[in-house]
Symmetry: C2
Subunit: 475 residues, 2 copies
Amino acid sequence: MSLSTTSLQDFLTHCRGVVGDEFVVCDDAGMAPYLTDWRGRFTGKAAAVLRPASVEQVRLLVAACAQWRVPLVPQGGRTGLVLGSVPDASGDAVVLSLARLNRIRAVDPVNRTITVDAGCILQQVQEAAAAEGCLFPLSLAAEGSCSIGGNLSTNAGGTAVLRYGNTRELCLGLEVVTPQGQLWDGLRGLRKDNTGYDLRDLYIGAEGTLGVITGAVLKLYPQPKACITALAALPTPEHALRLLTLMQDRCGASLTGFELMSGFCLALVAQHFPQLPKPFAAQHGQYVLLELSSNESEPHAVALLENAIGAALEQAIIDDAVVASSIAQSAGLWQLREHIPLAQAAAGKNIKHDISLPVSRIAQFIATTEPLLQQAFPGCQLVCFGHLGDGNLHFNVAPPDGIGHEAFLANQAAVNRVVHDSVVTFGGSISAEHGIGALKRDELAHYKSAVELDLMRAIKAALDPLGIMNPGKIL
Amino acid sequence: MSLSTTSLQDFLTHCRGVVGDEFVVCDDAGMAPYLTDWRGRFTGKAAAVLRPASVEQVRLLVAACAQWRVPLVPQGGRTGLVLGSVPDASGDAVVLSLARLNRIRAVDPVNRTITVDAGCILQQVQEAAAAEGCLFPLSLAAEGSCSIGGNLSTNAGGTAVLRYGNTRELCLGLEVVTPQGQLWDGLRGLRKDNTGYDLRDLYIGAEGTLGVITGAVLKLYPQPKACITALAALPTPEHALRLLTLMQDRCGASLTGFELMSGFCLALVAQHFPQLPKPFAAQHGQYVLLELSSNESEPHAVALLENAIGAALEQAIIDDAVVASSIAQSAGLWQLREHIPLAQAAAGKNIKHDISLPVSRIAQFIATTEPLLQQAFPGCQLVCFGHLGDGNLHFNVAPPDGIGHEAFLANQAAVNRVVHDSVVTFGGSISAEHGIGALKRDELAHYKSAVELDLMRAIKAALDPLGIMNPGKIL
């Protein structure tokens, strides 16, 4: 689908007329920051990077792409983990950066909505909501860099899904430029709207393959009055599941976080970050980081949490627990969780999986899959942690002691096959919150049914008949 | 698209081979119960009523419809309000009743999911969840008759949306027979799954025009330990909005119901149902029915509600309030709300609107639209009530005193135009929770943008190229 040099120059001249010369970037140095993925594993090529500043400019640029048949790769904060927002190696595509569309358009504290440009950084959205006394609950490691358009396009998850849902559940309305360069204004701030097909949720999670999200109406919540954190120590994942049921029964929607961490994970953190707190003297098999929020008061949250933990101790579900008594202590407990990926990186590269399972099957999944891995790769080390309340595990596999991390990466495809086969056996998903992008495209094709793939292809062909939207991603 | 008599007989013979003679109903008396809508406004015709008992039978019947080019109308409990589940007057279509697919397939209290056949009655699902100590929160007037497949196909709302969302938010996975007679197994019980396009939400709310939903995995919640009801009296809808903000800030997710009722509504109820409670001696402009649920205890719920009501009285947001002190008193307060439609029916037919608005604009919408109606139809009477917490009003218009209800119905199109034009001006929706069906198809075409209609048509053509799925509905 390469253009002739003359046609490409015509196209770029047209684009310069839309956004101005300086925002059509064609030199290698200027384009470089837009071509490499977040984890630095892949660098693509592009014919140009286009940097529109308004929805109308996006529309005109996409219309030009359609007219000249130029593939385009929408790009937000470029923090994705599956190569969804960088171009391939062909150099045929242009990158369409949404970074300059970064206005908070409106905050409505009574409707509890915020209307934003797609290029707004997640943290900027959180802060604009907080300034009006509201909570925008989406929260994830990259929140200082990722854009809300990217969060929507990947249906991002994070640490508050248990209470507030994924990005999909936080979005009421969307504005999208179609692959034909038309504007769909679906910017509705409505809790109920049953007027035809759910286009919104089709664009959410489509990773830019069906259109370009340019704006969104997002849900806000009341700011909780208090937020309390605790760390529980327990023997097995099975006990963690029992704790989850107990906490949900007693605390309902006040339970806002429930993160599982294996003993191996925390030992790895202690090894690489010895300055972090060590809440327990003894070693335990598993740990759960709990967070409770209250719209009432801090004493309410503390009492609720302490009573629940008391019951869990009494029922021998947990062996021990600490409740943070200050914001600093709470932050310290969260740091343990957040440093797991950093400790892994410090130890060396490993083979990562972002999987989900029915919550009730997680313990059995771990108990079944770890021996399968040991059988195939004797001595390999499992770094298993994640959002247990959502059934989402980061199920990472590190080399046996004495085997180099880089060398072990040669087993990636074989390790993936063991883990993903087991995931599918247990009714799970091979991509819980990261999406498919280019990285997991072959895995998707391997595991999805022919019926489902055909349905997806029919939708793609119907909405993007020229096939110019983020080619090579998902399908 | 009429078949020749010979072809039709071949088709029906084939269907009898699939489901057995007795479940291919062709006689007028046998078909009659399947052809008239719930409110008795329309009776269609059908070539036959097909009554499969298994997913595989559904698949074979739909494949036969595709082969013989016979249009089909999927039907659940037939309680819809927009003529979405009855055939048109042509007699070309067959009705595909899902009523015999009524098994609860599985309940998983740890994963908090229930897997059901599409033909299960909503109440049956609620009861199966309760038997395992869980709550399936979808609740609406027709729950004793409506089927979960119909709830999904119309994305039903109801009285618990404020806390738990619409049916869409309560569904994790779907099983669908495509218009080609293929089975899409999307029965996943996962909170997170980012593996390609969101087919699930495309089928939800599609009113049977894209495929036949045969099964679903639904979300369950912990059963609240207590549920408290109160009725607040206040002067205006503006005050009701202030009360909503106050309640949400103080109670968060414990606020599970927030229903607005105008003084005129309750006067109508008192007139037609004098035996029902009259909680206040004085007349008030507006009333709000509040419901609070607690996962902790009844004293917790009572204290939370009484403190919030105390604050609302202190801030002069409400004039008066009663808190139910028993289950019987609570039921009595809900009866006031539930008897509004019955009182309306007793008074005579009126012109109904099921609309939604940004919550923050509701007071201004009512204040603007009522004078527009009075100007166009002097003396007309507004019966305004609904799920204020969701921005959803049932905004019904009754004739002026002295004008017959039937005669006033002649103004239906003109009244709709006034109300719906105003809804659109305020950024609202002309169908909040009932859907489009055949009844609102022309209104949809009138109000939706050409871009949105084209996107919907493209999806319809891609997934149902023969156009056999529930023709004449939505598009």
